[in-house]
């Protein structure tokens, strides 16, 4: 939260956060990268992810936030989930619409094999149990971009359940530690995307483009195991990398191939979970983190002031940096779920259950898909660290740019040496550097000797800079301390 936001609505009081889990959340609300002065210098004792309100007359209140995510990823396929029309970004409006997509009466859905394979691959990559039998349902609501008046989804029995996603949160004093965290995956389901509405306020009309209507989506539901914006953002980034490595989705948020809704609630530790709100319209990882942190704070403020949280849907307005209620009428939607009668249950096989003489065009073998899964990002990072001696946090960065390098045909090893990313392990060279830094900054050295505790950090920083961040700060500190005879 930027400082102005903290003061909003709190009658002059200042709310502050304690550091979370060794500091994983201490940069919350500071996407610009600068840590505010009031945060620095606080102790980082909390073991639980906690958001603490400053002491009030009522006594100290501790809050815990829980964040769950519903992520929709557009499946990378040639044609749509239930019809043969093409999937393409930025085509002329209504140029990729089949009779079925336009919901012409009498048309029927036909399941796209590639989309099923994409769902199985993603499920396997996320350690899910793949349901050998899954079902399709209709979810009804009226909206102009939903031609049939219902969406075909998998509500009763989705294709994959009970998985996990491991993501690494940067922590430690200099963000140099990577703490692995796990978020459980409740389920992955196949469903149709809707069309697009474009509001033309000038002419008081809405224009509908059905190019996107019927495109296959993977809905990945993450359990509320996350506690703040940064965790959620990191988890989403990791999922993006996985989907891109699998090739099942390009997962580009800017192009709308990945959309995230967040479910957020706060409660006192030990007490039951609070009422949750759903935050939609999160178009980038940055906004995702911002919106979640804002909403957590908003809910805390509301409850601290004796208000209550409504179970509602809110939209994030990035220019204002806040969430606003989206509801224009009372009452929750009843989607009147019903089994999709035109699609028989989806049956998948594995090596043991595959019927003899089955037409390979007509069946999907989970084991076969598992064997052909490409290398996942976590495995690639592990390799980079082990084989090339790279720092773990660099391996994260590297992978993000992997797409760029892929085209040039370079191997990770080449990239590492080109970019000089190897860990500087030469003790002698490091000592040399420390010596030269000390020589160049006598005043700082004096401060250290005068027991100024912050001075050594400055020296470490300077040495690190000289090594182009390739040296382990712990090692630098050891060398410096030895040299300074501390």
């Amino acid at each position: 939260m930027a400082a102005p936001m903290l003061r909003w609505g709190c009658r002059g009081r200042r709310w502050a956060f304690a550091r979370v889990d060794g500091g994983s959340c201490h940069r919350r609300g500071a996407p610009t990268g600068s840590t505010s002065n009031q945060i620095r210098g606080e102790s980082s004792v909390a073991q639980q992810p906690l958001h603490t309100a400053q002491k009030t007359r009522k006594g100290e209140h501790k809050w815990a936030a829980v964040v769950g995510l519903e992520i929709h990823a557009q499946i990378s396929s040639n044609s749509k989930l239930f019809s043969g029309s093409q999937v393409r970004f930025s085509a002329p409006p209504n140029s990729l619409v089949s009779f079925f997509d336009a919901s012409l009466p009498g048309t029927l859905p036909v399941l796209n094999r590639r989309c099923v394979e994409a769902a199985v691959m993603t499920g396997l990559a996320l350690n899910c149990h793949i349901n050998k039998k899954s079902l399709f349902d209709r979810k009804h609501y009226f909206y102009a971009d939903l031609p049939a008046g219902y969406q075909i989804t998998q509500q009763r029995l989705p294709i994959a359940v009970n998985g996990s996603l491991i993501y690494g949160v940067c922590a430690g004093k200099k963000q140099s530690q990577v703490i692995p965290k796990t978020v459980r995956i409740k389920q992955i389901q196949l469903e149709q995307d809707s069309g697009k509405s474009l509001h033309d306020n000038l002419r008081s009309q809405t224009l509908i483009d059905l190019n996107r209507a019927g495109v296959g989506l993977l809905e990945v539901v993450l359990e509320p195991d996350m506690s703040c914006g940064e965790e959620a953002a990191t988890a989403v980034r990791e999922l993006q990398l996985i989907l891109q490595a699998l090739g099942t989705s390009q997962a580009n948020m800017a192009e709308g191939q990945l959309r995230v809704d967040a479910n957020i609630s706060v409660h006192h530790p030990g007490e039951p979970l609070g009422v949750r709100t759903e935050v939609k319209n999160l178009n980038s990882i940055r906004f995702l983190a911002k919106a979640i942190d804002y909403e957590i704070q908003r809910q805390i403020n509301e409850l601290e002031n004796g208000g209550e949280i409504l179970n509602e849907t809110r939209s994030f307005h990035h220019k204002l940096g806040c969430t606003m209620s989206m509801r224009d009428k009372e009452g929750k939607q009843d989607y009147r779920f019903m089994p999709e009668p035109n699609l028989p249950p989806l049956v998948l096989y594995d090596a043991t259950s595959l019927p003899a003489g089955a037409d390979p065009q007509q069946v999907i073998n989970i084991d076969q898909i598992r064997e052909t899964l490409p290398e996942l990002p976590s495995v690639t990072r592990e390799k980079l660290v082990q084989q090339y001696g790279m720092l773990l946090e660099h391996s994260f960065t590297l992978l993000v740019f992997e797409e760029l390098w892929k085209r040039e045909g370079k191997t990770p090893g080449q990239i590492v040496s080109e970019k000089q990313l190897e860990l500087m392990q030469d003790q002698g060279a490091l000592e040399q550097l420390c010596h030269s830094v000390m020589e160049a900054h006598p005043q700082v050295v004096m401060d250290v000797k005068n027991r100024n505790p912050r001075a050594i950090n400055k020296l470490i920083g300077l040495v690190r800079k000289a090594t182009q961040s390739r040296a382990d700060p712990v090692m630098i500190k050891e060398i410096l301390e030895k040299k300074l005879s501390l």
Binding site: P105, G106, L108, V110, R336, M338
Partner: protein
């Protein structure tokens, strides 16, 4: 003309066709007389089994470039860009599409009385057989006001075949909508096994129960049409992949001594007319006297069938009708204040009371708080009903024999005294359990009632044993020798063309 491929139609055929087209239709409503009766210009090669054969199609099947309305304001002016699979298959075999036939709006009804084009009149109202009987009984001055319904919802298709405007017509069957009008119009009305014939292009009423139905004047014709239609369709995921043996020729059953006929005792209901009951009994006796084994069976969940059907049918209707919002096609109201106001007005204007009533009921059953108690419960009962049939067939029965309707066709003025829902519940009693179980069934015209009107009986077969079912039906048809309808006009106009009264027995077969 009969069964031969048309090269250049001779003078008699052309004039016959012209007369049929230009004749004001007192007996049926051909919605759109096909403007392009194209004659097959073949060089001695027939296009297929149905080359040159006139057929009619119920107006809930998509026909490319031809208005398809479902007899509803909602689709008035809607011209589909594609053919239903079954329509395409008929055209590929060389059939001539005479036009689209009238129905109850969106196939909801058992009288073909509730469509926007008005009710369908049963050709038997004008038959010699009926009129002569009526002369014997006192009746009202205005003869025409006592015309009879065709039954429904495929009444237009039934009337079209019954009045000789075509050889075969497509209907649809969700709860009896092909078999019911067949019985009332003295026709063979065949409902195939669910999954045998593609539903792609059939505008759905209840996706899990709908099938395309076939109406013909004899069983052999129905078999030929079925042969053209049956088979898997990649566009319909509910069709089965088993290949169908073609051609679909029916053997002539020499004797029925190896056959076991089942009579479900629960179908003997108090509302059944004595005439129908008597014919049912005689039919059973006939089988027995010819050596077949005839046994009583029980379908214990029969009494729950109507209610179960109502819940599932309305639920699917509520869902299927959600697409009619005036945005992409069909009727759209003039209101443009907001999208929701537009939806509401469009749907109020587009749908009749029957459709709106079913949508409201269906949405009620699908509400979260009701779903378990109504929809899921009904699905469970449906399973029990389907199992009843499985058990009956497992006990050695080959084919079940039941009435098709409670009585012969009633006059329109009497029919409309009760509302659509009441009538449907009454009239579907013998037919809708079959749709819930997905079985094949066929109504065969047996004899004329005391009033000179047709009465039919129904045969129900095992799933995907359609050929066996039709074989038994063909044997029975031969035994009963149902009379040909004697339509005064037709006889006067076409006596030159027709040779004798045995028209019905002359089939499409060579």
């Amino acid at each position: 003309m009969l069964g031969r491929s048309l090269r250049e139609p001779d003078f008699e055929t052309k004039s016959w066709l012209r007369r049929r087209m230009s004749c004001p239709p007192p007996v049926l409503k051909l919605i759109s007389a096909s403007p392009f009766i194209h004659y097959t210009k073949c060089r001695g090669q027939s296009l297929g089994d149905l080359d040159g054969i006139p057929i009619a199609v119920k107006d809930n099947f998509s026909t490319s470039g031809i208005e398809t309305t479902c007899a509803s304001n909602m689709l008035k002016g809607y011209i589909p860009p594609y053919n239903a699979t079954v329509v395409q298959k008929l055209l590929d075999q060389g059939a001539l599409l005479m036009g689209k036939t009238n129905l109850d709006e969106f196939a909801m009804g058992s009288g073909s009385t509730d469509g926007v084009f008005g009710p369908v009149k049963n050709p038997w109202s004008y038959s010699k057989q009926y009129r002569e009987k009526r002369k014997q009984n006192p009746h009202s001055e205005n003869e025409d006001s006592d015309w009879l319904i065709t039954g429904g919802s495929s009444g237009g298709s039934a009337a079209a075949v019954s009045a000789f405007t075509c050889y075969a017509a497509l209907g649809s069957d969700t709860g009896g909508s092909t078999r019911n009008p067949a019985a009332h119009c003295g026709l063979v009305g065949f409902k195939p096994s669910y999954g045998l014939v593609s539903r792609h292009g059939l505008i759905p009423l209840v996706n899990s129960m709908d099938v395309p139905g076939i109406l013909t004047r004899c069983v052999d014709d129905a078999a030929i049409v079925l042969g053209a239609l049956a088979g898997p369709d990649p566009r319909d995921s509910t069709t089965v992949h088993e290949p169908i043996n073609k051609p679909f020729m029916l053997p002539s059953l020499a004797d029925v001594s190896k056959l076991c006929i089942g009579i479900p005792k629960e179908y003997l209901v108090p509302e059944l007319s004595s005439e129908v009951q008597s014919l049912w009994s005689k039919a059973a006796d006939l089988f027995e006297s010819e050596g077949a084994k005839v046994i009583e069976v029980s379908l214990p969940h029969t009494s729950y069938s109507i209610v179960c059907y109502h819940v599932l049918c309305t639920s699917e209707v509520a869902s299927n009708m959600a697409r009619f919002d005036g945005l992409q096609y069909g009727h759209r109201c003039d209101i443009d204040v907001s999208t929701e106001a537009m939806y509401a007005a469009t749907r109020r204007e587009g749908f009749n009371d029957v459709v709106r009533g079913r949508i409201l009921s269906g949405n009620f059953f699908l509400l979260k708080e009701n779903y378990e108690n109504y929809f899921v419960k009904a699905q469970k009962v449906r399973r029990l009903i389907a199992n009843d049939f499985v058990n009956a067939f497992n006990s050695g029965v080959d084919v079940l024999l039941t009435p098709t309707t409670l009585s012969e066709a009633v006059p329109y003025l009497e029919f409309i005294k009760e509302d659509n829902r009441t009538r449907s519940a009454q009239d579907d009693i013998f037919t809708q359990a079959v749709n819930m179980a997905g079985l094949p069934a066929v109504s065969i015209p047996v004899a004329l009632s005391n009033q000179g009107l047709p009465i039919g009986l129904q045969f129900i077969g095992r799933a995907f044993c359609d050929q066996q079912l039709l074989t038994v039906a063909k044997w029975f048809e031969k035994q009963v020798q149902f009379p040909v309808i004697q339509l005064q006009e037709l006889m006067d106009d076409c006596s030159a063309v027709l040779e004798n009264e045995k028209l019905a027995s002359v089939s499409l077969k060579q």
